[in-house]
């Protein structure tokens, strides 16, 4: 746990934002006042999340059944819940590498099923990958060479306000030139609930720049239909009744030097893995004659990070458990909501150290929450709450960027004295082992 300094910093502090999986590290935090402010960006998502923090020691305390207590008592009660559980569920999973490492040990000790709050989104990409693979790219590649960027679904700017800037769209290079690019929004205004409008998508300003084209291409049919039609067109098959816009988009992709198809797992409909599979098929077709790659935009609030860590430790991704028969991975059956609804689990450990992350589901099960102080449960029966620090704000840590390649270090810019998820889980695991007579 990192203790706050006695005096306020005298300048804006360099910052790596933990709140969305782009993890921008070009901005700063002005922490001279008690309420820190963002410097160098107008990202609404970062600003809102930052509003949940103060430059001060956090007064938050652990609670048992809504009553404040010390950490030791909270851990003691939590150990009791876990020891009595025959099938725990670890959900939320909003933490960093250190938290995930600690969580895996506890999951092995308890046989818990683990699924992230963003599990449904995560599984779209994972299941497509398990079936057919993928071809992806990263932010620096996009910035350097993407001449066509197709955004599937609603504009990424809604969820990832810095996205187009991180892609370098419209930026002047050292020689004063602007890399010509064409940005396509490929989505449906009605179905997606976001206007497929270039101006509203944060692209309005780019259209005026030399060499930058912007375009909205409406879906033909639903998203499944549209990506499959596009895959067929790109694959060179005859498609009757394809819209002129779709035919044009296929041609543009085939003529691109380096096309990037950005997609957002969190916005995909049911059976989204099929959409991802079609996107991968488009990319593979393009790579037979030119160059292209996909760029997933998701996995924030720890989901991608915990998935990576569990995968490297055990060999299997999330929605797995160390059950009585051994290591089991069930990408459908081990969905947290489904397990809760069916009564297939009898205890919930919810980890969410990010303030904008999903709050624990309403449940009558014994529930342990390791969360941002603002996440103290209102329901107070059989509930343990332990406030934890947020990686990148109150404590340091490591988080994966959405492209899955870069593991960003995040720093304790506003130390608040709260323990990290890893520290709490370490104590919890130690206490559980001691209660079973296993001394480490």
């Amino acid at each position: 746990m990192s203790q706050p300094p006695a005096t306020a910093p005298d300048r804006a502090l360099p910052w790596t934002c933990p709140f969305c999986p782009l993890h921008c590290d070009g901005f700063a935090i002005d922490a001279r006042a008690a309420s820190p402010t963002l410097v160098g960006s107008d990202c609404g998502r970062a600003k809102a999340a930052l509003g949940q923090f103060k430059r001060a020691v956090s007064p938050a305390q652990p609670q048992v059944d809504g009553v404040a207590c010390d950490l030791e008592r909270a851990i003691g009660i939590a150990v009791g819940y876990l020891a009595a559980s025959r099938q725990p569920l670890f959900g939320g999973l909003g933490t960093d590498v250190a938290g995930a490492r600690a969580l895996y040990r506890l999951a092995c000790d308890t046989g818990a099923i683990c699924d992230a709050a963003q599990g449904p989104a995560l599984m779209h990409g994972l299941r497509a990958m398990q079936d057919r693979g993928a071809f992806t790219t990263t932010l620096a590649e996009v910035r350097e060479r993407a001449d066509v960027i197709v955004c599937v679904g609603p504009s990424p700017a809604a969820q990832f306000p810095e996205f187009f800037r991180r892609c370098g769209v419209g930026e002047r290079r050292e020689d004063g030139s602007i890399l010509p690019r064409h940005v396509v929004l490929f989505g449906d205004a009605v179905d997606e609930g976001v206007a497929c409008d270039v101006a509203e998508a944060g692209l309005g300003g780019f259209g005026a720049l030399p060499g930058i084209g912007t375009e909205a291409v409406a879906l033909q049919g639903d998203l499944h239909d549209a990506v499959n039609l596009l895959a067929a067109l790109v694959g060179g098959r005859n498609v009757r009744d394809a819209s002129a816009a779709l035919v044009g988009l296929a041609r543009r992709l085939l003529e691109a030097r380096y096309a990037v198809i950005a997609w957002q797992p969190g916005t995909l409909p049911a059976q989204g893995a099929l959409v991802v599979e079609a996107i991968n098929r488009i990319v593979n077709s393009l790579n037979r004659s030119t160059r292209a790659a996909a760029l997933p935009l998701g996995g924030g609030d720890g989901a991608a990070t915990v998935n990576q860590v569990f995968t490297w430790l055990s060999g299997l991704p999330l929605r797995s458990r160390a059950g009585p028969a051994g290591l089991e991975h069930e990408p459908l059956c081990f969905e947290a909501d489904r397990l809760l609804q069916r009564g297939a689990v009898d205890c919930l450990l919810w980890v969410q150290s990010f303030p904008a992350g999903t709050a624990p589901p309403d449940t009558r099960l014994p529930c342990i929450v390791l969360g941002h102080p603002g996440m103290a449960p209102t329901q107070a029966r059989d509930a343990v709450f332990i406030p934890v620090g947020t990686p990148g704000v109150g404590c340091a840590g490591h988080l994966f960027r959405s492209d899955g390649v870069v593991l960003m270090p995040v720093h304790a810019v506003l130390p608040d004295g709260l323990p990290t998820v890893a520290e709490v889980l370490g104590r919890l695991t130690g206490a559980l082992r001691a209660s079973r007579g296993n001394v480490e």
């Binding site: 990576q308 055990s314 009585p324 051994g326 899955g404 960003m408």
Partner: protein, 560 residues
């Protein structure tokens, strides 16, 4: 102070010229010490009937980092037994972890240690992915580890080459890269080819220009080898050459050796680069040509990358060649990526079949190389895990090398054209225990500059493996009797008895820090990470690696 005596074993310690001499070995506080028969040891082990060697060192094994984890994600089927889950460990010291060709990091550590290995090196650490690689290696229990950072396909290096930058600046950039990412060496993969593929170039011969930067692999290899040599980094440039897997690629390999012009170079998974194009199938062994070149060029060392039959997965930085091979994959799925203007990766599952002419010949070529290079100090035993096969197949490979009749039996089962005509049939050489000890520990330690590993002389770190001597070398090398890490018993008869965090080996060459100005500017205008967040400091490395020891390795000629 704690001490251990191993009593009555036969010591095989080629670094110190000890070949099967029967004598006791004394360990004090984690190090081998001069033997004192009067010293009472805290623990004594009777190792009569056993062979005592230094712990095994795998200097080319894909154990950690992005593409390894992608391989795990791609292959859930590698992590179950048909339709059933893999059973939980029956050892309370082990956490659940599984997989055959893509084991979890925990299983990787347990299985290596049970087999008598105490160090492993990840050969392809992408700079942008270095933290991730160190995290994964840190989660491989017990084993010490390190990694070679990839250069030669990064746009900055190619740009510097293209504009004829002062070699000293390139050397400083390399020095910074090694330091910033806490690497043990530098690897080049398909020199220039990964980058060229991003510009839609599909093939790049050694003297062919990169379509955009107009530099050749020959120039890239030479420039990198020269810079690394001038930085006095012990491990020579680790080279995955041009045209991996392509029939006739021996020409590229010989040209790459020539490009070094006598500078040190380590040609990795050389089996995949030793193919001729003769015969009716236009695919033939060039093992003898390769061996001749290695024998004639003392600046060259190799690791083999032997293939083993069965299912595995190939995980490589070579996007260009993996894309070309993707249609041959089994099962038919694959992952590729263009990475951060640094590198790339390609993950293609593969099943090597005994009845495939090409696969059978690949198998024979690997063994021919092992058995045709004269100097075992320049040959390292690898399967390029998991690309040629999983590391757990090493004991089988050792038996193939030490037992001619067993080898001939295996050869007879293969595709009939290979069984009948392979040059391997006429090779009678059987490697000795000393040669195996060189290829699996003493040689790699020397090639990496690890002065206190790979041998059992006084002062060596007490990484020790004790094998029960038996005629079946596969059984002998599968389950050592005892394995010690830094003097502590960590495995006994194939069972883990202690789990510790391994240490991280890395080098810290000197370079002119003035280069950082250029790098800061380049990152700002082309990168996606703030320059100040790139370098990994000692404290951060320590936390990445679960508190394991930091083991900086001296550069040649630097002050002690």
């Amino acid at each position: 102070m704690s001490s251990v005596r191993l009593r009555g074993g036969r010591i095989v310690d080629p670094a110190n010229g000890v070949d099967g001499v029967r004598r006791d070995l004394l360990v004090r506080d984690g190090h081998v010490v001069a033997h004192d028969p009067d010293e009472k040891a805290d623990q004594e082990f009777d190792v009569n009937g056993c062979i005592v060697m230094a712990g095994g060192i795998d200097m080319h094994t894909h154990i950690g980092g992005g593409k390894v984890n992608l391989a795990r994600l791609l292959l859930p089927e590698d992590h179950r037994l048909n339709a059933n889950p893999v059973a939980r460990p029956n050892n309370p010291l082990e956490l659940d972890s599984c997989g055959n060709c893509t084991p979890g990091t925990l299983a990787t550590g347990y299985r290596y240690v049970e087999m008598g290995y105490t160090s492993a090196f990840e050969p392809a650490m992408v700079p942008a992915n270095a933290r991730h690689a160190h995290m994964e290696m840190g989660d491989v229990p017990v084993l010490d580890h390190g990694a070679y950072v990839m250069l030669g396909n990064d746009e900055l290096f190619l740009q510097m080459m293209a504009r004829g930058e002062d070699p000293q600046r390139i050397r400083d950039y390399m020095g910074w890269t090694i330091n910033a990412h806490k690497a043990m060496g530098v690897k080049v993969v398909n020199p220039g080819g990964i980058s060229a593929f991003k510009f839609n170039q599909r093939k790049l011969d050694v003297d062919e220009n990169h379509v955009h930067w107009q530099v050749t692999p020959r120039q890239i290899v030479h420039t990198l080898a020269r810079a690394l040599s001038e930085l006095r980094v012990p491990h020579p440039l680790h080279i995955h050459g041009s045209n991996l897997g392509v029939a006739g690629n021996i020409e590229s390999t010989l040209a790459t050796i020539a490009a070094l012009e006598g500078l040190p170079g380590h040609l990795t998974h050389i089996q995949f680069h030793a193919y001729g194009s003769e015969g009716p199938k236009k695919f033939s062994s060039a093992a003898l040509q390769l061996a001749e070149a290695v024998n004639a060029n003392p600046n060259i060392s190799i690791d083999v990358g032997q293939i083993m039959f069965g299912q595995t997965v190939t995980a490589s930085g070579d996007t260009m060649r993996q894309h070309a091979n993707a249609d041959l994959g089994h099962p038919r799925k694959w992952i590729g990526a263009d990475i951060e203007c640094d590198a790339g990766c390609g993950v293609v599952p593969f099943r090597y079949r005994e009845q495939s002419y090409v696969n059978a010949l690949q198998w024979a070529i690997g063994l021919e190389i092992f058995l045709s290079v004269n100097d075992p100090w320049r040959v390292v035993l690898t399967t390029d895990h998991p690309n040629g096969g999983p590391f757990t197949s090493y004991p089988h490979l050792i038996r193939l090398l030490m037992d001619r009749s067993f080898r001939d039996e295996q050869l007879a089962r293969l595709h009939p054209d290979v069984a009948a005509h392979a040059a391997l049939r006429s090779i009678t050489r059987e490697l000795t225990l000393t040669e195996i000890a060189i290829m699996t520990r003493a040689g790699p330690a020397r090639l990496l500059g690890l002065k206190d590993r790979g041998h059992l002389g006084a002062g060596a770190a007490a990484d020790i493996t004790v094998y029960r001597e038996q005629g079946d070398r596969e059984a002998m090398f599968t389950t050592p009797e005892f394995v010690f890490k830094d003097g502590a018993l960590v495995a006994r008869a194939g069972r883990i008895v202690a789990v510790s965090a391994g240490g991280t080996h890395f080098v810290e060459p000197d370079y002119d820090r003035g280069i950082e100005k250029l790098l800061r500017k380049h990152m700002a205008s082309h990168g996606s990470v703030n320059f100040d967040n790139v370098a990994i400091g000692h404290d951060e490395l320590c936390s990445c690696c679960n508190g394991g020891r930091l083991l900086p390795v001296e550069c040649f000629g630097s002050a002690p």
